[in-house]
Amino acid sequence: MAAHDPVVKPVNAVQRRVIVGIDTDRAAREALALAARMAARVDAGLSGVFVEDENLLSLSALPFVREVSLSGAVAEIDKAALLRAMQAQAQIAKRILQRVASEANVDWSFRVARGTRLRSLVEDAVQSDTLILRGQNISRHELGRTVRAATQDARADVLLAARGVVLNSAFAAETPQPLNRVMKMPERPLLAIDEGSSRGEACVGFSQSLAGRIAMPFKRLFARGFSVSDLGIAARKAHAGLIVVNAGSLKDDDDAARLSVAAGCPVLLLGSERATLGPEIR
């Protein structure tokens, strides 16, 4: 680590972590902000992962592949330059993480991984962790696969905000004072999906505890036999700010992303072992 690098505060090994992939684009920054707020509310550490995308290194070796800049200019790809750019991005991402964590007053850690983006995130996740995923520039299918890997293989939770979902409805920053004085913003509830099983019961218990922790009104939705679109309609009707659902209750890989879009809010998908852990949140 260079002398001027920020000190990396290791997150306690047993501490619950909120893991987020960090990058320098807007979607990644939004996800990071969401992750920091969530970590602050549930007393978790914030773990940032910057992924040096192997796919990019591979394509740089293909002679006919070009990079198209944001202004539309087409240029050849130089592998060494690409690597330097990634390293620079990693440094910037780390500084952003440090600042955001400091503002949210949470412990944080940072690591650089090489691999594919989503897979690298999941690789490090364990049972008590929560993975933050934004559905930006990722296909629905790929997102679904990652959610499945995280919740079933790593048994971690996943907070998914699909493309187009307003993030500030859950884990919102403090409401500005003048605004408080002049108008009362309606508070959007946390909606726990009870699909009518013991796991659904556990999900409700956990959700109640979480709602108390993050100061959101709590609502329970009995959703036995509900399709994803039914759930979306019910969530919109309830004006939900956050949906909590067992990941195992979703059938297809695409369902997670579809639910988030249909509900218009983030979805917290609980890992496969969450039901056995009970409602407590450390």
Partner: protein, 826 residues
Amino acid sequence: MAVDPLSAELLYRACDTGPFEFETTAELEDLPGLAGQDRVLDALRFGTGIRRHGYNLFVLGPDAVGQHEAVSRFLADIAGRERVPCDWAYVMRFAAPHRPIMLELAAGSGAALKEAMAQLVTELKVTVPAVLESEDYQNRAQMIAEEFREKQEQAFDDLRARAEDEGLALLRTPSGFALAPVAGEGANKGEVLKPEVFNALPEVERKRLEAATIALQKELADTLERMPAWEKDHRQRMQALVSEAATRLVERAMRDLRKRFDTSASLRDWLNAVARDLVENIALFAGTVPTQQMQIGASGQIAPMQFGAVDPFRRYEVNVIVGNAQAKQTKGDFIGGGAPIIYEDHPTLQNLVGRVEHVPQMGALVTDFTLIKAGSLHRANGGYLLIDALKLLREPLAWEALKRALRRRKIIIESPGEFMSLVSTVTLEPDAVPLDVKVLLFGERHLYYILSNADPEFGELFKVAADFDDVLDREPENDLLYARFLAGLCRSEDLLPLDKSGVARVTERASRLAEDAEKITTAMRPVADLLREADYIARIKSSTVMTAFHIDAAVEAQIARADRMRESSLELITRDIITIDTEGDCVGQVNGLSVLSMGAVSFGRPSRITARVRMGLGSARVLDIEREVDLGGPIHSKGVLILSGYLSATFLPEIPFSMSASLVFEQSYGGVDGDSASSAELYALISALAEVPVAQGFAVTGSVDQLGQVQAIGGVNDKIEGFFDICMRRGLTGEQGVLIPAANVKHLMLRQDVVDAVERGVFAIYPVETIEEGVELLMGVPAGTRGTDGTFSAGSVYAKAEARLAAFADNQRRFAQRVDDNGKRK
């Protein structure tokens, strides 16, 4: 011909207390201002009544007359009935911040506008964030943002879908995007093909993938090129949304304000500009715009860095430079009245026309319209501005600035540094303020005459002169008026009241100050000083009123405090260091009288004037020694030349005059001017010529004309008292006295000890009308009159003088006819 000495009654005109029907001045009403100054009153009425350009006033008179107080009282009376002028305020010109707008507001409404604008800003600070954060607005904004995002993402999704169909993936690179072939199945499904895998593909497949990649790359570039246009469209839609919300908000917030201040076109225009600016800068109220951005004006040009950079809401402030809400109260330098009356005690350029202040900010001096400060011209606008002319002329650039303002009839703020190119800091060019003011300059008469002669604009701008009389006639009704004046003075100065004797003694003192028994000085300051000092003495003596005793004690104390020079002068004479004879006779020597003035102190002192005569060279030449050594002033020289005229016309008018004479003020080492000693000089010359001694117990004052008439002089009281003091110290002989011009008798207000001495017959004062009367008094022999035979009466002084001159003429002729040994004339 013999002249009788003056009786004691003529030496001091006592004030008659008979007509006084009061016990003390506490019973008297104040004197209305300017009593006895009818000429000034007319000038002030005219000057303040005529509302035409250039009819400003110059109030002339000695400084001590108290013009300020009198004129202020007069103005307070008329100004109270006049309209209260409007308020003036500077506000920001949003299109050009360096040129603030001047607003004319109804009297007292400046503060109201300022408060209303402050409330507007406060209200918007609350309502704007509320509206911008409201669900309705946020949803609309989100919708626009989402539409934009969706449009972008749709384009990418389409591209991504087509890429997937072709077996390609769209990937984000550190600085853009790239398309690459990916694995379609297996564990690595969706991952970019590594080169060795790609190369292992059949050639047809490789070529297809390569062609598809290149084609989609082009489409991707096209899509990205369209992005800025979408972005621009998005910004415009967001701006339109903000503007719509802001316009509604601002119009609602300003509705009452507009109604309340819909008083003038300029104010309406400014409020419209405020509304536009609020809409443009609504983000300020949401707290999302860095203040530095406010430095860039609407025109896109960088405005001068302004103090407002610290607080962007300063741009909506109202700088009320003149507020007349309190005009009817007496406060600070407001003297009172509906129209303001401002006295500018320190008339510098900036105190007159106002100034633009600067404050240091980040190492630079910055300013804005809130730092514009009013000058006295602003504050007096619509009323009256009083300035001391001398103070004004002493201040660099101030006189010219005042004239410019009066000539242009507008006030333009000028910085002296900028004016003289001394500094080059960023400053403002505020709108000029229309000027409608009466300026009253106060000054001594000579200042008025100098300005009249030296400055052509002065006459154009100050057409009305209000000339204060130095004195009032001393008549019974004026004595009563003067008593009321004293009553007012005692009250305003919180002094003990005067009883009748006190009033009488102050009146007599005022008469002495006027140097005239028939006049009273209008000078207020010395009289006020005298009263204050008498009050002090009276209070020490536990008196409840001031009497003649206290006034006398105060006068004596004044004299005693300033007496060192007079005492020193008297001592030099009584110790015979300066020779002044007060007894015996002497040919060609006369005691003249002069007044020494040093600051506020003046006293009379005798001077020994001597004359020597001898035969001349066919002309009458009087050598003025003072003039020869440049100690004599022009008026003194004129007096001496007049003597020659008198002598040559009086003696031997038909034959050439053959006399040479010299005149000198003995032991005089300072300058001599004035002609009040010319009669004394003539007596000395006549004595020397006739060889008749002059009685040294007399002193003489008075000027003389060529016909021998003795003329009035100034300082007669001081002169008499000066000689009396010498005689008194040496012991009065009963043969001593002073010859004064008969015309000066009415000026006599002598000290009581002098009057007493005259009454006892040990000192005399002779009123002399002609030189001949004086000659007889001084030399004890009649001057003589020319008889029908053409000669002066035998034994007279003039007969002797003429005989001596005739002898000079004979000698002259004899000298002219003398021949030398060769028979030639010498």
